[in-house]
């Protein structure tokens, strides 16, 4: 699956609900798979009593990884050339996360067709939690 530039228009978007009700277990799964066992993401007692947060919260990288779905479902994981985000708000258990990707530019570089994308993931209040950009390889059509 490689998308052809002729099938894309600037400003075209795709949206996906990543999590309807982010569970603590999902966050624990991320800790287990990634190797980031920072207790801020799984240990309620430590996080409240020592670190002073209202509850445990998701790894930024869980949000970034999940947000990647809107890019890879459309363009194919093997075609991602760069992907970068800023973590702008914390993600808490129970959050609903919805990601949107927008095509911002189509260009050619060294005989490769590329698309520039912007991505934003918002929570149930519409507040952004992750914002970023990506570059993906397209087919030569």
């Amino acid at each position: 699956m490689t998308v052809a530039p002729s099938s894309l228009t600037i400003g075209e978007t795709r949206t996906k609900v990543l999590f309807d009700d982010l569970s603590r277990t999902q966050i624990v799964m991320y800790a287990g798979a990634s190797g980031d066992y920072n207790p801020l993401h799984s240990d309620e007692r430590y996080t409240k009593e020592v670190a002073g947060f209202p509850s445990i919260f998701a790894h930024g990288m869980l949000s970034m990884g999940a947000t990647g779905r809107v890019i890879t479902d459309w363009f194919g994981a093997q075609n991602v050339r760069s992907y970068g985000v800023r973590f702008v708000n914390q993600v808490w258990p129970g959050d609903k996360l919805e990601a949107t990707v927008t095509v911002t530019e189509l260009r050619e570089e060294e005989c490769q067709q590329l698309a520039e994308l912007s991505v934003t993931t918002v929570n149930q209040d519409g507040a952004p939690v992750v914002t970023g950009t990506a570059t993906v390889l397209l087919s030569n059509d």
Binding site: Q26, A33, G52, I71, T72, R86
Partner: protein, 165 residues
């Protein structure tokens, strides 16, 4: 060297894909249309982070016989030092980016080299002085060919940003 050997394994990719809530068959099923289009199973773009599993110095991996800063009998097994400022040990993640040469695939054995980038401070209303620091990690294959470069920006607040907010 930051990471001597990071074997990219199919089961680990499957667990990672589940952990980010991504059911894309390209990550798990080599016979799927998605995997065939990708030239075989690939790892999700953020999978290089899972190299932490293989890093002896990973501060967020409890080690046998050593005190852990999470809770057990007490709320923490290793109280934060004065130098840790807000009690947020190791800082918070502000930005992350990856630049890929090739996707990660099962069978690769990567190693990584880390280099520090810039460090700067910024005053914040809620977090006091924020100290930002950049870290670059190059992941290389068995032939020392670059596979992906990661940039991490961390921030350590001088006071806990949750207090009084």
């Amino acid at each position: 060297m930051a990471l001597e050997a990071f074997p990219v394994e199919a089961t680990h990719i499957m667990m990672f894909a589940r952990a980010i809530g991504d059911p894309n068959p390209a990550y798990v099923d080599p016979t799927s249309d998605e995997a065939i289009a990708a030239g075989g199973i690939v790892a999700p773009p953020t999978f290089p982070m899972a190299g932490m599993q293989f890093e002896p110095a990973n501060p967020f991996l409890p080690k046998a016989g050593e005190p852990w800063f999470g809770s057990g009998r007490e709320a923490t097994g290793r109280p934060p030092k004065e130098s840790d400022g807000s009690g947020v040990q190791g800082g918070l993640h502000a930005e992350q980016s990856f630049t890929y040469v090739t996707p990660l695939r099962p069978g690769m054995v990567l190693h990584a080299v880390r280099r520090e980038g810039e460090t700067w401070t910024k005053e914040s209303r809620r977090g006091g002085t924020l100290t930002f620091s950049e870290m670059y990690t190059d992941y290389l294959d068995e032939n020392d060919e670059l596979v992906v470069t990661a940039r991490m920006l961390s921030v350590i607040p001088s006071v806990n940003p949750t207090e009084g907010s």
